[in-house]
Symmetry: C2
Subunit: 482 residues, 2 copies
C-alpha cells in the first residue's frame, strides 16, 4: 500500500475544502454574523494545519496508485473531509452536538439532505451557504475536481482512472474523452454552466440571490438542503416548476450533455437508460397525480406536486412542496420504489441507478433463457453493445451488498423503537442519499430523534450510498490492511 500518495491526496483535498469554505467566512462577515465568522476562521486554520502536516509528511510521495489504494483513498478522503468540514457547525454552536454536526456534514457531502436541524431558518447565512455548497462539492465529487485541476504529469498505475472510478456513480465509468483529466474538466464545466443557468432561472422568478444560489447548489448536487423550514412549499409555482426541471436535468448522465454538444442527438434519444429514466418519471407522475387528485384543488396543482415530488425522489434530491407522508398508501409506495431506483449513472443523483436496474432485469431475462436452453450462449446488450460479464457480476454483487446493508441498518435503527415504516424509509432515504423518509422521518420531520448508534449507522450508510459501497467496504475490510 502506497500510504504516502494517499496522505498526499488527502492533503490536497483538504486544501480544496479550505478554499471552498472560504466564502462562508466572507458571507458571515457580510451579514455581520460574527460568531459564525469566528467559527469559519478557526475551522479554516485547523483544516489548513492538518493539510499542511499531511503535505510535509508526504512530500516524497510518488504519483502512483493501484485499484486498492484508489478505493481506500476515496473512502478516507470523504471521511476526513466530513470530520473536519463540520467544524463550523460545531464551533459556532449552531448545532450543539458533534455527532449531529457530523451527520449534517456527511448528509451534505453525500448529497443526502437529511437534516437533524429542528429549525433551519434560525441558522446563520454563512452556515446555510456551507450546508448547501457541500451538496455541490459532493455531487460531482471532490476527487474529480482534483483531477480536473491536477497537472497532467503522468498516470502511473492508472492513477486518475482509479480515483475517478471509485468516486463516480454507476456500474461502469464512461470516459467522455480518452484523457481522464480532460473528462473531469468537461464534467465540471458542464456542471458549473447548468448550475448558473439554474440560478438565473430562479432569480428571474423573484427568488433572492442568496436563496437562489443555495437552492441551485442543492439541486445541482441532488442534495436537498434548503433555507426554509417548509422546503419549497411556499415558493411560487414557477419556482417549483423550474426546480422540477433542473432536478430532472441533474439526474441525467452527464455524458449525454456532452453528446448533445457534439450533436450526437440520436445516440442520446435512443439511450436505454435515458428512456427508462424519463419513462419512470412520466409514469410515476401520472399514477400519483390520479391517486392524489382529490387532495388538491386544481389539476395544475395536483400535477405540479406529483411531478415535483417524483423528480425530487428519483433524482434523490429531497426537496418537497407538499407533505407526501399524507398521501395515500399507493403513492407512498411509488415514492419508496423511486427511492430505490434512483437516477441515471454518471449523474449527481444516488440510488441503485436506472442502468443497474436495466442490467438486473436483462440479467434475469438471460437467466430464464439459460434455464430453458442451457446450450445457447446469451449475452446482455445495452444500447446494442455487449455488457462485459465482470460488469454484470459487479452489478449483482452490488445488489447483494445493497440488501445486506439495508437489512443490517434497519435492524440497528429498530433499537430506537420507531415504527418499521420510519426505520425502513430512514435507511432508504439516507443510504440512497435522498433526505426525507416517511412517518417519523417524513418531509415535515427530521432525523434528530434517533440515537447516536443509529446516527452513526446512517452516517456510514450515506457514505456507502454516495461512494457506491465498495470504497467504504474496502476501507473497513481487514484484508485491505494486511
Amino acid at each position: 500500500m502506497n500510504y504516502k500518495i494517499i496522505g498526499r491526496i488527502i492533503a490536497e483535498i483538504l486544501w480544496i475544502e479550505a478554499i471552498f469554505m472560504f466564502p462562508g467566512l466572507v458571507i458571515s462577515f457580510y451579514y455581520n454574523e460574527l460568531v459564525a465568522a469566528r467559527a469559519f476562521g478557526i475551522s479554516e486554520l485547523i483544516i489548513l494545519a492538518v493539510s499542511g502536516a499531511f503535505y510535509w509528511i508526504t512530500r516524497k510521495a510518488k504519483r502512483m496508485l493501484y485499484a486498492k489504494e484508489g478505493f481506500v483513498c476515496v473512502g478516507l478522503a470523504w471521511l476526513v473531509m466530513s470530520i473536519l468540514g463540520c467544524l463550523p457547525f460545531y464551533i459556532s454552536r449552531e448545532i450543539p452536538r458533534y455527532i449531529d454536526c457530523l451527520f449534517e456534514m456527511v448528509s451534505g457531502f453525500t448529497t443526502t439532505g437529511a437534516s437533524i436541524v429542528p429549525d433551519v431558518e434560525k441558522l446563520s447565512k454563512g452556515i446555510l451557504y456551507w450546508r448547501s455548497f457541500s451538496h455541490w462539492i459532493g455531487g460531482m465529487g471532490v476527487l474529480v475536481f482534483l483531477l480536473a485541476l491536477a497537472p497532467p504529469d503522468g498516470n502511473k498505475g492508472g492513477f486518475s482512472m482509479h480515483l475517478l472510478r471509485a468516486e463516480s456513480p454507476g456500474p461502469s465509468v464512461g470516459k467522455i474523452v480518452p484523457k481522464m483529466r480532460q473528462t473531469a474538466m468537461i464534467l465540471y464545466v458542464m456542471y458549473i454552466v447548468l448550475t448558473i443557468l439554474d440560478v438565473i432561472f430562479l432569480a428571474i422568478g423573484g427568488m433572492p440571490l442568496f436563496e437562489a444560489f443555495c437552492h441551485a447548489f442543492g439541486t445541482a448536487g441532488t442534495g436537498g438542503f434548503g433555507v426554509k423550514g417548509d422546503s419549497y412549499a411556499s415558493y411560487s409555482p414557477y419556482l417549483q416548476n423550474v426546480t422540477t426541471i433542473f432536478m430532472i436535468l441533474f439526474g441525467v448522465n452527464f455524458t449525454c450533455y456532452y453528446l448533445l454538444l457534439m450533436k450526437q442527438f440520436k445516440s442520446v434519444f435512443t439511450d436505454e437508460e435515458i428512456r427508462l429514466y424519463f419513462g419512470i418519471i412520466i409514469g410515476s407522475t401520472a399514477l400519483i397525480a390520479i391517486n392524489i387528485r382529490n387532495q388538491y384543488e386544481t389539476i395544475e396543482e395536483t400535477i405540479r406536486h406529483a411531478a415535483f415530488q417524483v423528480a425530487s425522489i428519483i433524482t434523490t434530491t429531497g426537496y418537497c412542496t407538499t407533505d407526501f407522508d399524507r398521501w395515500p398508501a399507493f403513492s407512498k409506495t411509488i415514492i419508496l420504489m423511486l427511492m430505490v431506483i434512483g437516477a441515471c449513472a454518471g449523474s449527481t443523483g444516488g440510488g441503485l441507478k436506472c442502468s443497474r436496474f436495466l442490467l438486473l432485469t436483462k440479467g434475469l431475462r438471460r437467466n430464464i433463457h439459460y434455464v430453458l436452453k442451457p446450450h445457447q450462449v446469451q449475452v446482455v446488450r445495452i444500447n446494442k453493445r455487449t455488457v462485459g460479464e465482470n460488469v454484470l457480476a459487479n452489478t449483482n454483487a452490488y445488489l447483494s451488498a445493497y440488501i445486506l446493508i439495508i437489512m443490517t441498518s434497519v435492524l440497528v435503527l429498530s433499537l430506537d423503537n420507531f415504527s418499521v415504516e420510519a426505520n425502513l424509509s430512514a435507511v432508504l432515504a439516507t443510504f440512497n442519499n435522498i433526505g426525507p423518509g416517511l412517518a417519523e422521518v417524513g418531509p415535515t420531520c427530521n432525523f434528530a430523534g434517533y440515537g447516536v448508534l443509529s446516527k452513526l449507522v446512517m452516517i456510514l450508510g450515506m457514505l456507502l450510498g454516495r461512494l457506491e459501497i465498495f470504497p467504504i467496504l474496502i476501507l473497513f475490510s481487514p484484508s485491505t490492511w494486511k
Copy 2:
C-alpha cells in the same frame, strides 16, 4: 412443446389429488358432517372426470420431457390442482367466495398458511383435514410423489430430472442417489417417518389425535394452518416445544437425514448451510428473548415464545404462540429478516433459503477481491466444493426476480390503502410462504380484508414463492408459447 405429456402428467396429478382428498369424505361421514361430505363427493367426481378427460386426450403421450416442458408442467399442475382442489371449500359454502377458496387452497398447497377464514374453529372436520393435508402434499411436492410412484420406464430427455428440479426448493438440486425415482422415494419415506414421529410426540402430550394429525401435517409441510383460532397459544408448553423442535427439523435439508442414516456425521456437522441455519436460529432467539424479556413472566416463557416464533418464521411455518405484532420494533425487524432468509434448501421450508444467502455473500466477497485484484481468478466454494458459475448466475437472477416481484406486489396491494408495514409484510409473508405478517395482517388477524386484485397477486406470489419463481415466470412468459 410436448403438450401431450404435460396433459398426461396433469391427469396423473389430479388422480393423486383425488386419492388424497378421499379421507376428507370419510372424516366428514365419521363426524356426521353431511354438507361437507356431499361437497367432497361432488369435488371428487369433478376431479376424476377432468383427470379422465386428460387421460383420454393424452393416451398416446410419449414420456419425454425437456427443461421448458418440465417448468410449464409443474407450473400448470399446481395451478390446476389448486383450482379444482378448493372445490370442497366452495361447494360446502364454508368459504362463500370462490376467490377466497382459491386463496386458501393455494395458501395450503404452497405451505404458506395465510388464511382468509375469520373463525377457523367453525370449519367442519373434513375441511380442516383437507386444509392441513394440503400443506403436507405441497411441502415435499406432488410431482416428487408422482416420481416416487412412477414406473421406472425410461428417462427420456431427463424426464424426472426436469420435474424434480422445477419443483424442489434450493439453488441446486441434490440427487441423494443416482436414480431420480429412488431419490424421490427416499425423500418421501423420511418425510412420512418424521411426520409420524411428530404425531406420536404430540399425542403423548395429550393432544387429541385429529388435532395432532392436522398439526403434524402443517408442521411437516412448514405450512401453518391450524385448527384453533389462537394457533398454538392455548396448548401446553410441552406441545409448543415439541412443535418448535419439529419445525426446525423440517427446515433442514432432507439430504442431511439421509447422510445421518448413512452415518456420515461429519459431513452433516460441517455443512455450511446447516451451521448458518442453526446459528441464525440460536442468535435470533437470544436477541429476541433479551428484547422481549419484560413482556413475559418467567425466563422459561420468554425463551419458549422467542424460540417458537423464530422457528416458525425461519422455517416459514407460521404457527404462533403469542402475538408478535406487539413485540418491540427490534424483535419485529428480526422477524421480518427471518421471513426473507428462510429455511435450508431441500427442506419443505420457503424463503430465499440459507444456501442462497451463503452464495450471495460469498459472491459479494469474491467481487470485492475482483475489484482489488482483477487479474486473479477467484472461485466460490461451499463445503469446500467449487460452486458452478451457472449456479451463481442463477442465484443472482433469483435475487433480482425476488426484489422485482416484491416491489410490484407491494405496489398493487397498496391500492387497498392498508399501512406500508402491513402491505410489505403481507407480501413477504405470502411470497415466502410464511403466513402471518404484521399490523393489519398480524398473527391475530387474517387476509380477508384485501380486495380481489390483491388476493390474486398474493395467490400468484405464493405460487411463485413455493415453486421458486422460474416455473411460474416461464409459464406466463410469452416466449414459452411461441
